[in-house]
């Protein structure tokens, strides 16, 4: 959605415009509703929710659900709160995003500026790897992580996300570098610049936007992942999504809805923050991931 694209020439009368704005506002309410429910109910005592006041603003405002969710809520057997799992997610996401982005940039560079026979097939193979149902790799991956001693560890999860993140990061950089003038690269080659020199001096300085797109995409995907986290982590290495699910699904005791909502917001905050700060890049990543080319 570039801003310079042309708006429609279709003309609408004032009556129609009133209807359009009303509809747009109603749909805004639909999209905001769950967020409103989460925020409002994370700030009220449990009794108000149980009394049927889910849609109302709190009578008594309280941060207690937040501190419970963060540091004392029962996750599985221990009352640790979500804090350690939030940390797990961070130390999982950072290296996985960094390494897959660097590899993606190098791959994209090779696949566009150092083309060789069969490079399109290789790219196709990498690309299809993004879309496979991961159920197809769960069993062997669990075996392999067990054999090399990474089962149930954060490094194991980093590795898994790295492997299945390369396809997308390569896609982004390849499509971006394809637009980059090959003549510049040729000229540098004639001047005797080598593979890495060209990458560092010519490609990297202009890669800022696509690097942001790629980092945001990988960050959002890996932070939000549940399947790999649920399959390959132990209690100690659970990422945030898995811990949140355990918190919400735990069947013991009273269901503390307000704590669940506070926990859900905590799990959502990092990606929401990125979306609000750099939404433009997030949308670009989404589009590039769906409309290849």
């Amino acid at each position: 959605m570039s801003s310079n694209a042309t708006a429609t020439v279709v003309r609408t009368g004032s009556g129609a415009r009133f209807v359009i704005y009303t509809l747009l506002a109603l749909f805004s309410l639909f999209y905001l509703l769950p967020l409103y429910v989460m925020v409002v109910n994370s700030l009220k005592p449990l009794s108000e929710i149980q009394a049927g006041g889910m849609m109302a603003l709190p009578n008594e405002w309280t941060f207690a659900p937040w501190s419970t969710a963060w540091s004392t809520a029962q996750i599985g057997v221990e009352a640790t709160g979500l804090r350690p799992f939030f940390w797990n997610s961070i130390i999982m996401v950072v290296p996985a995003v960094a390494i897959s982005t660097v590899l993606g940039a190098l791959n994209g560079y090779v696949l566009t500026k150092w083309r060789f026979r069969g490079d399109t097939i290789i790219f196709g193979l990498l690309l299809f790897g993004c879309f496979i149902p991961f159920q197809m790799v769960l069993i062997p991956m669990a075996r392999m992580l067990g054999i090399v001693g990474l089962a149930g560890t954060v490094p194991g999860l980093v590795f898994v996300h790295l492997v299945y993140g390369i396809g997308f990061s390569t896609l982004y950089f390849r499509n971006y570098y394809q637009q980059f003038p090959t003549e510049l690269v040729r000229a540098a080659m004639i001047d005797g610049a080598g593979f890495f020199t060209i990458f560092r001096r010519i490609m990297l300085p202009s890669s800022g936007p696509i690097a942001v797109v790629c980092i945001i995409w990988q960050f959002t995907n890996i932070w939000n992942d549940f399947l790999f986290g649920a399959s390959f982590s132990d209690f100690d290495s659970q990422p945030m999504t898995v811990a949140l699910n355990n918190l919400v699904q735990s069947s013991t005791g009273v269901k503390e809805y307000n704590v669940h909502f506070a926990g859900a917001i905590m799990a959502a905050l990092p990606t929401l923050f990125v979306y609000i700060v750099a939404g433009r890049y997030f949308v670009r990543g989404l589009m590039a991931g769906s409309v290849k080319g």
Binding site: M1, A5, T8, V9, V10, T12, R17, Y21, L24, F27, Y31, P34, L35, V37, A51, G52, M54, M55, L103, L106, N107, V110, L111, W114, F116, I122, G124, L125, L126, F131, I132, P133, Q135, M136, L138, I139, P140, V163, Y164, I166, G194, W223, N224, F226, L227, T241, N245, H260, F261, G263, A264, A268, L272, Y275, F282, L286, M287, S290, V291, G293
Partner: protein, 298 residues
Amino acid sequence: MSQVAQNRRRKDWLREALPKIVLSPSLAMVLVFVYGFIFFTFYLSFTDSRILPSYGLVGWENYSKLFRIRAWDTAVTNLLIFGSLYIVICCALGLTLAILLDQKIRAEGFIRTIYLYPMALSFIVTGTAWKWFLDPGIGLQAVVRGWGWESFTFDWIKDGDMAIYTIVIAAVWQTSGFVMAMFLAGLRGIDNEVLKAAQIDGASNFALYRRIVIPQLRPAFMSAFVVLSHMAIKSYDLVIALTGGGPGTATELPATFMYSYTFTRNQMGIGAASATIMLMAIAAIMVPYIYSELREKK
């Protein structure tokens, strides 16, 4: 051969090979951990694996067993219901919102941000929010009853026949903004000259959209279909968070079936067979799409 010439030769070789050397770790990882693992799981689907992989071949037995399991039947039926509604509603809603937003709307960027933010959330977060909002005991039903409409009933999430539709609601909520963005990008790429000419000929707005605009959105429809259908087949997290596959097995999908048969029921051979069928379904959609995309680019 002189030392110098030999050095130069080695240098030339390195220069030639360096790009391939740089690419090779990624390629090796994908070959082993994507394609090797796919082959391994495919192989397991023909073995008598139970709690652990075992290598006694049993032919098509796992597949014939799979198709006789009621829960698999439910999962496939659910996927067809969920997938078709999810795709159709997302496309209809996405297209409508895109057309509305394309009418030189004030604060367009702001509204777009609101429509799209669910895409940034984890399905676990979405599932949690909708799970309690749809819960008859405390959510919408309780609230409306509290407002005075005592007989109001909305308990789909607890109703085996209706629960699958709650998955549709939450999934549409999460992805329809994204589909809107795809259509909006398509709308912005349409050539206005044709529209102006048709306007001069007296075409109504409805006719403009039906006859000129929507037919030109074919590529956007294509991408939306591919993205949504592949997301539907892979749907796992949302079901786990929203209903856990229940009540009973009412909202089981192939992805949740595969997981429970492989890891909790210790029927790894059958789990592998179900994963293989999921892969076939996705490949049938993605391979032609990727092939055509890559061919066009050349």
